[in-house]
Symmetry: C2
Subunit: 114 residues, 2 copies
Amino acid sequence: MPYQDGKFGCPVDVGLSMISGKWKPRIIYELLQQTRRFGELHRLIPEVSRHVLTTQLRELEESDIVSRTVYPSSPPKVEYALTEFGKRIAPILEQMIELGEHYIAKQNQGERNE
Amino acid sequence: MPYQDGKFGCPVDVGLSMISGKWKPRIIYELLQQTRRFGELHRLIPEVSRHVLTTQLRELEESDIVSRTVYPSSPPKVEYALTEFGKRIAPILEQMIELGEHYIAKQNQGERNE
DNA sequence: CCGTATCCGGGCAGATACTG
DNA sequence: CAGTATCTGCCCGGATACGG
């Protein structure tokens, strides 16, 4: 089964890039609780600038993970929500955390042996 | 359930970074078939330079995904294999492919509507 | 055969200022 | 309120040369 059959390798990168982005997991986490307005997201994640927050949201929208709804009112109101597809990503993020926990555990183990 | 409880958000990044790297999924894929020597890996993935291949392998080793065994012979012989932990990553990569396929499908859909 | 040492370029994210 | 426009800095991955 060579690489070209597409099961692994390069094909992985597409999916990986969809959730790779400094604030994307965090944004998905917040939207998993409930739909949020732009300003709400910014208050929930104050470490990120509005510029970058916008960029990450646009990329998530392009990946069909997040939906963006504009209410033409004054003042303007924009709501971000997870799509049905986006909600399916939650278990994947939990698995990522498990990977990380394994790494942390191994680090602590190594420190004890010094 | 605030962000600080560690279920999502920043904690995801640790696990994500363990498999994020231009050649890491590809390397894992190759090692999933069988243990390989350095030169074999390089022949299987000729697009990557030895320098970068070394770097990625070192990082995978640091993450306990890959094990490195040196046989002190002449000429030198070094074997890379997936750890038990590394083998558990396969299903995660398959899920990444599913994410990518969803994106590709959506792209094609959009093109038809132009 | 299996690397290390150095240098370099592009892309992502951050800071800051401005706008419908 | 919810963005855009512009500039900047840093880190990863790549190219090349050298070493045990």
